[in-house]
Amino acid sequence: MNIQSPRYNNQIIIQKLIKQCPKSQLNNFWDLFNCLIVTFTLSWLLVICQPVLAITLDPTRLGEGARSLALGRAAVAMSGDLGSMFINPALAANLKSWGATTMYTSLLEGDITYTLLGGEYKTAWGTLGISYLGGASFGLQVSTRDADGRIIFNGNTFDYANQVLSFLFGREIKEDLAAGAALKLFRKEFTGPSGSTGSGFDLDLGLLWKPRKDLSVGISQQNTLPSSIASLTWGTNEKEGIPFNTKLGLAYAPRDNLLLAADLDCPSGAFHGGVEWKLRQNFDLRAGFDGGNFTTGVGLKFKDFIFDLAYYIDRELSANSTYYFSISYLAPERAPTPPPSQEAKKPTPSRRTFSDVPPNYWAKDAIELLAGAGVISGFPDGTFRPEKGLTRAEMCSLLVKTRRTKDERTTDESSIVHPLSPIVFKDVSEKHWAVSYIAQAAEEGLVKGYPNGSFRPGLMLKRAEGVLILARFAQLKPTLGVSPYSDIPATHWAAPEIAAAKGAGLLDYIKGNSFEPSKDFSRAEAAYIIYKIGKGGW
């Protein structure tokens, strides 16, 4: 059965999903779920039990960066955004080195301006961060009544300031799970003879779960503490609560150049969502939706500097539409410096030699290291037969074994998921030695059957087919409209993948400008390309 036929049933879909979430990640999901339930319940109990107070405004709800603003204020699961780390402190755990960010905006036709300064630094214990967000407005007019009873300006003015200082800490608590906390100090002030100052503090808690490379799930409990502990107290003895808010967020990157992000606020139910499209390597386009208002923006990257611009469209009153600017610096990842003792313990890759692979053979390292790692194997007579062609079934076996070998480096054997219900092609019986490999490779889209429902497992692969399959396996982005070799025009059915493989340096063993697409794809070639995909880490 072809996997794209209507008989591609739900079981296969579920099986695929399970496969994408290894067992350890499922455990983390339940850890996260339990954490969420406990934290959410405790926080809400505290909210319900606290006295009813007027609720002050938390200026961090403005957002802490133009990137997330352009995405409709969806920030809770936005890894890699310095400003968002102050919305969900768990995001800071993903910082590779250190960074600094600023943001500026002028709201309400310039009547109030906000400035953000923030910085984060990765340490051995986790990431530390500090940010200052300040708003100011000047020239508030004091009024009086004249002899006619009319309200008039009495000539005096006063000013307003609204500030929050945040200290954050975030770190990984499991491989795909991070947690963080941010202590926030609030200060508000009216100047002048009738003025007063209010101050208080509160605590944000955050979690981030990355079940897959392309998916992040986050939660941020903002202002978690009950008002009996944390509130804003004014010089007039007025006491105000700080708004409790739960933000649930999701960030999903279905493609390398596309990011979807969404947040949901509880209890307000406000939805924030946005999409980011990487138009070029250093240029992003963004659009979002923020609880009824639309947002848009761009991001520019120059070396390690990032410039973000967001435009917030206020549907209620167009005059309130405004811009947000951010400039950030993200330091390059520091090279890890393992302690000498750890360096000494680094295992030497094991090799397995073959009688027909001489010392000067062009693919010798690839063959011996992959064989030492158990990815490939030779024949009982001690030969590898490197120039022999590879069948379609052998290629499936090779790919699945390669995947498992890499997974074993980070997970235990029990976490490796085997097909529960192999896809059966009409010419691949359940007793075929490679049935499970073929099924898994087909499910992952690495190989496909023929329209008549056959797979032809014993058919020798041609070079064009072999390179195409391995390019898919390496998840290379096809390079369209390019003729990579003189005998592979841009219109060739495998040209995009061959061009991508060539661009990635996987085909550097082919000398000259002729690809010879109909030549048998040899075992040595397959070993060499897989070795290159693994970057020699075998």
């Binding site: 403005l62 036709e109 006619d148 007063s196």
Partner: protein, 250 residues
């Protein structure tokens, strides 16, 4: 020789006091009151309830190009309707010469003066009331006609800072240059809408001239707002025509 003493009570307008026809003039202007030594205040006519189209006016108010000025002009003895007059931009009309819908009812002291055809710009309105003793009281106002773009001027809140716990609403005042449907928006310091109120054209809050409306320091959902800075926007047809900042401090 008969004489008329005069007294200005013009408020923001010019005020005069003295003998209109005699030689003992000690008049002054600009609201500085200098009393004629041998005249008591009770001997002067009273001008009160000066309104245009039913709304009290003050110096600098906007009025329509056509309208009706009303006032109460009374005296303990009698008003001399031949000497008493109303002035518009230097043209005087005695009470006795008022015709049509422009009248002076001596019994009620009710003055009604219908004007029309005023061009855009400033216009001086004067009221001069002379009693049978020859004493004069005057009031003068410079009023504006502006048929141009709608605007809200002198937007103020009283008191500022405002304490909702005082039990009194905050008063929001502004002057409009013409009648128009008006919406009042109040935003918090993050630009989020807190309160919105609509006023129909011609009603309090949406009529030409001085408007004064209330805000009790609550959101549209009725919750009291917190201590903070709030931003008032006066909006007509989606355009902001006036604004001010309101401090709430309990």
């Amino acid at each position: 020789m008969s004489s008329v003493n005069y007294q200005g009570l013009g408020g923001a307008g010019e005020g005069l006091i003295g003998n209109l026809l005699g030689t003992n003039y000690l008049g002054t202007a600009g609201g500085i009151a200098v009393l004629w030594a041998n005249i008591s205040a009770a001997e002067f006519p009273t001008i009160a309830n000066v309104k245009v189209d039913g709304k009290s006016i003050a110096e600098g108010d906007y009025i329509k190009a056509s309208g009706t000025l009303t006032a109460t002009v009374t005296d303990e003895t009698a008003i001399n309707i031949n000497l008493s007059s109303i002035e518009v931009d230097g043209t005087f009309t005695s009470f006795a010469a008022l015709t049509g819908t422009s009248t002076y009812d001596a019994q009620a002291g009710a003055l009604t003066y219908v004007f029309s055809g005023l061009s855009d710009g400033n216009h001086v309105f004067g009221l001069y009331a002379v009693n049978s003793s020859g004493n004069l009281t005057s009031r003068r106002y410079t009023l504006k006609v502006d048929s141009g773009t709608l605007k809200a001027q002198e937007v103020l809140v009283y008191p500022n800072p405002y304490n909702p716990k005082s039990g009194q609403p905050a008063k929001i005042a502004y002057r409009l240059n013409r009648d128009s449907n008006i919406s009042l928006y109040i935003f918090d310091a993050l630009g989020q809408l807190v309160y919105k109120q609509d006023y129909l054209s011609g009603s309090e809050g949406a009529h030409i001239g001085y408007n004064e409306v209330d805000w009790s320091g609550t959101s549209n959902s009725g919750n009291p707002v917190a201590n903070d800075l709030y931003f008032l926007r006066i909006v007509s047809d989606g355009k902001v025509i006036g604004k001010c900042k309101i401090a709430v401090l309990k």
